[in-house]
């Protein structure tokens, strides 16, 4: 990739394409927008292969973080373009999703993890992690006191950390 080798880009796509697309789709819930965001993610790496280096941690985690923020940016642009508010979803991977598109046994892992949390903690995590909202934006969106939002997010993430550590 550092030499602009298309076969390296294809290899990266083979290895991470479904994960990157899965992340983009989870944020955007739209195949067309998710494809754009996933493609943008790979293009960022193509344009600047030195963007990642080993000090930034595992390549896969870094690439998925880039994918998440790219998809969130796309979501914000879409909200501005359409003038519609962000839809509050009850579940990140909803029952209406096309499960045939989801690969592997890990498909319900996120869903299972999030369902271990009380509804109010799960909801603030979804808004922060998958829709890119800050503390104050979540408080405005949910019409909840800022302190309550901060506490719910902190406790929810603490619980997620414990759940992931115990696996």
């Amino acid at each position: 990739m550092t030499h602009g080798d298309e076969s390296a880009l294809t290899a990266l796509f083979a290895e991470y394409g479904s994960k990157v697309y899965g992340m983009a789709y989870t944020v955007l819930k739209n195949t067309h927008l998710a494809q754009e965001a996933a493609q943008d993610t790979f293009m960022q790496l193509w344009k600047n292969p030195a963007a990642w280096n080993p000090t930034k941690g595992q390549f896969s985690s870094w690439l998925l973080t880039v994918a998440r923020y790219t998809a969130i940016d796309q979501l914000r642009r879409e909200v501005r373009r359409t003038g519609q508010d962000v839809e509050l979803r009850d579940e990140i991977v909803s029952d209406e999703d096309d499960d045939s598109l989801i690969q592997g046994m890990e498909s319900n892992h996120l869903k299972t993890l999030l369902h271990h949390l009380p509804d109010e903690q799960r909801r603030v995590i979804e808004l922060a992690y998958f829709q890119g909202m800050k503390h104050s934006e979540i408080a405005d969106f949910l019409h909840s006191p800022l302190g309550t939002v901060k506490t719910r997010l902190r406790l929810g993430l603490q619980k997620l950390k414990d759940l992931l550590n115990n696996q």
Partner: protein, 232 residues
């Protein structure tokens, strides 16, 4: 307020990018003043990584790889090595210049090599030589296997469209038995993608065939292969 306990409480939100701008500034300054918070930060970064990895992988639309490669051809990647401004000229012996240049070249090449090795897997491509019927209608099929990857991807091109309830199913014949590698559908241009574990393709096999089956696939092939590839 910038006591360490308050900062500790903000770390989980900071790691996932949910802190407001003033809170972010507070934490970033506090991490310098309170080095004991670094371990807390690392723990939540590990959680953040694990959370990202738990998001379900999904099969991208078949045209995505083609679109990505087309976009990549439009833009060449930026050079990884920056050209530094020329230093103020000084009198240096020719021999010393050669030693310095050789050392610099060695360091650049070795760093570039290790960065490349660490970030990009090498790739192996298997192109299907189809049966005459497949060749006649221009079906193309290839498998990309990444050396460091646990997955392989099959790229199908020019495949005929199918009815709504049908899909292409990929079969591998090995040791007298037959196993399914998965099902895929194609878009209006006849392009499709299927990813499967690289183990399947890295072990010796006799042949690969693709048949038309119901959308959920069949336990065994029920129609003749539209394309076959014999292992050499």
């Amino acid at each position: 307020m910038r006591d360490s306990e308050h900062l500790r409480e903000l770390i989980p939100a900071y790691v996932i990018g949910a802190t407001d701008a003033d809170e972010t500034r507070l934490i970033e300054a506090g991490l310098v003043d309170y080095p004991e918070l670094a371990e807390e930060l690392r723990e939540y970064q590990r959680m953040n990584d694990a959370l990202a990895e738990s998001v379900p992988a999904m099969m991208p639309p078949p045209e995505m790889l083609g679109n990505l490669l087309a976009a990549a051809r439009e833009v060449r990647p930026a050079p990884a090595i920056k050209v530094l401004p020329r230093p103020t000229p000084r009198r240096v012996s020719v021999l010393w210049r050669w030693v310095a240049a050789s050392l610099t070249l060695f360091l650049v090449l070795s760093n570039a090599f290790w960065l490349y090795r660490a970030s990009v897997p090498t790739v192996r491509e298997i192109v299907f030589q189809g049966n005459p019927e497949a060749e006649l209608i221009g079906l193309r099929c290839r498998i990309i296997v990444s050396s460091s990857s646990e997955s392989a991807i099959m790229i199908a091109e020019n495949f005929p469209s199918l009815d709504a309830g049908q899909a292409y199913q990929v079969w591998m014949r090995r040791d007298g038995g037959i196993v399914s590698l998965g099902v895929f559908r194609v878009n209006a241009q006849g392009d499709g993608l299927l990813s499967f574990t690289a183990d399947a393709i890295n072990q010796p096999f006799d042949s690969i065939g693709i048949t038309i089956e119901p959308l959920d696939g069949s336990p065994q092939p029920t129609t003749p292969s539209v394309v076959r590839w014999k292992s050499l």
